[in-house]
């Protein structure tokens, strides 16, 4: 099975601290990581490869530093990586990002399955999977948790996916796009030996727009229909903001009295 895996290199929002004075998150010095939900996707793709053989190519559109993200998933067992990186790609919204990714996948050629994470921790749009599917005119299923069946002859694969109150089994014709449900897998650790190989054999290619040859009107800012027009502040919800600081016993009594006054004791 020829698999493409989409990963994003994101600031580690876990390590981002909140600045109560300015109300913003402190991003300086925050290390970047592979989007954690993409590790679920990586694990899922690796399991397919373990079972059916084939090749996994990780792709990312990002500045050069994201090469570390590709090295990370290669360390987990992914075969090689392609980083689409060019100043001309900068400022892309999800339409323009998905365009470049779709063109990368086209250029790779012969891909059976494209695997994405459910969403990124920094933007959480969950757009990219569906948008890449749309550019490539492929069927797709989101929130995949498990493989149910793969029929190599018929080129069909069946997955179990979960919505809030139901599990669904989808059979889908290949080539197809899926997104893997976040928290659904236990991503395997990086193996040092793989990582060293990754550095020695250098299986990561960087494709700039020289290699890609995309129309500048379709990429980056120009290829993005959405623009950020301004910034405002979230209106604060009026709250009483009464705070008790002191003996915990007293504090709890104080709180119970307040809740009684408000009539929000459940019994």
């Amino acid at each position: 099975m020829k698999i493409v895996l989409g990963i994003k290199w994101v600031p580690n929002t876990q390590a981002v601290r909140f600045d109560p004075k300015t109300g913003t998150l402190i991003r300086e010095g925050v290390p970047s990581i592979v989007n954690p939900h993409d590790l679920d996707a990586t694990e899922f793709a690796l399991q397919l490869k373990d079972k059916f053989g084939g090749r996994i190519t990780a792709v990312s559109m990002a500045p050069p530093a994201a090469i570390m993200g590709l090295q990370h998933v290669i360390g987990m067992g992914v075969d090689d990586g392609i980083l689409a990186s060019d100043r001309a790609f900068a400022g892309a919204d999800t339409l323009a990002t998905s365009y470049v990714l779709a063109k990368v996948i086209e250029k790779i050629g012969g891909v059976d399955l494209v695997v994405f994470g459910q969403e990124t921790i920094d933007s959480s749009t969950a757009h990219i999977g569906a948008q890449v599917a749309s550019w490539l005119k492929l069927p797709y299923v989101y929130y995949v948790e498990k493989l149910v069946n793969y029929d190599e002859k018929k080129k069909e694969i069946a997955f179990l996916r979960k919505l809030e109150d139901r599990e669904e089994v989808y059979r889908i014709k290949l080539p197809a796009v899926i997104s893997v449900a976040m928290h659904s897998q236990k991503p395997r650790p990086v193996r040092m030996s793989y990582k060293i190989m990754a550095k020695l054999e250098n299986p990561i290619q960087i494709w700039t727009n020289k290699e890609m040859g995309l129309d500048p009107r379709c990429i980056g800012l120009k290829g993005s229909p959405t623009i950020v027009g301004g910034i405002t502040w979230t209106p604060e919800v009026p709250r009483k903001k009464e705070v008790f600081q002191g003996d915990p016993k007293e504090a709890v009594k104080w709180l119970i009295d307040k809740l009684k006054e408000e009539g929000v004791i459940p019994f």
Binding site: T13, F18, P20, G23, T24, L25, R27, D93, T94, L95, Y99, D122, A126, H127, A130, Q131, A133, S134, Y140, Y142, Y143, L163, E164, D165, R166, E167, E168, Y170, R171, I172, K173, A176, H183, R217, C218, K222, S224, T226, G229, G230, I231, T232, T234, E236, R239, K241, E242, V243, F244, A251, V252, K253, W254, L255, I256, K258, E262, V264, P266, F267
Partner: protein
Amino acid sequence: MSFDPSARKKKKVDCGKLCPEWECRQPGEFEGIWVIGEIEDGQIHEASLQMLTPARNIAEKLQTWIEGVLIGGDKEALEKAAKEVIYHGADKVRIIYHPDLKVYSADQYALVLSEEAKRVKPEVIFVAATLRGREFGPYIANTLRAGITADCTNFDVDMKTGDVVMIRPPFGAIMLAHIKTPTRRPQMGTARPNVFPIPERDESRTGEITWIELESIPQRRAFLEEVTIIPQTELPIEKADYLVSGGRGVATKELWSLLEELAKEMGAVVAGSRKAVDMGFIPHEKQVGQTGKTVKPKLYIAVGISGAAQHTFGIREAGIVVAINKDPEAPIFKASDYGIVGDAKEVLPLLIEEIKKLK
């Protein structure tokens, strides 16, 4: 300032500047607001009805109409849903019907809806960001080469240009980004369930229902083979009146079980912050906040939660908010009614004891 509808026609797009993969269309050709109605188990989804709230607001500002758009293969369910959509505020409803559309399939539904949108040319499309909406919505946007903004928390109109302003918190801030798509129509936006209320139901409302009976539809390539409904053992957090919510500050086995005990004693449902989800203490459907759920309990008790804007966004509709946190500087105290500065390890057992006494 009010919007001058003739401004629509004044907008001109230079086709030579557009990506050749985008069909060049003048914004002036587009009018009306679509609200896509999701039908689940024969019923219109509440989250779709909620989208009629911002749609009404935008329709008034743009002096235009709201059209509910339904797709499916079950005439009875479609007819029933269409009435609900009108009772809740749509001016009219468009029903796209084909017997083979009985079962949802993301790309097929999205392609059918995109084709209809190309023909009808609405200037705005709203989709509820349910799990299915998050799946088919971006495919429609992409097929139309339209801009789409996910998880908006509000919508507005730029009165000069008539552009819809999609308002959403960007990465890591209390700030709100105002996102527009000045040169492309339709303009698409989604909002998570419960961010907006369902408009009042009024059975006296009427509206035209247009049936589009398709002769052929794109081939289905993803087939739903099996559905297993998971029985729900407790109320979903968005329906609960009492929530006890935990964050990283209680993300240890010992403290979390105290949190659960408190919830049990109170008859409350347990929820949590994104960190509680990331650390495996609760599933994502119990996450409160911008990328989780908006909840409206009578009482929300946040324990060991710092109060990041992405979290408190989810509790702005809550009745009384209580915070227990050992850091007196934690922003959660500014977003709550009653706060206790203290260690959950000490405060929770005492609170459980007091609650027991009350019963």
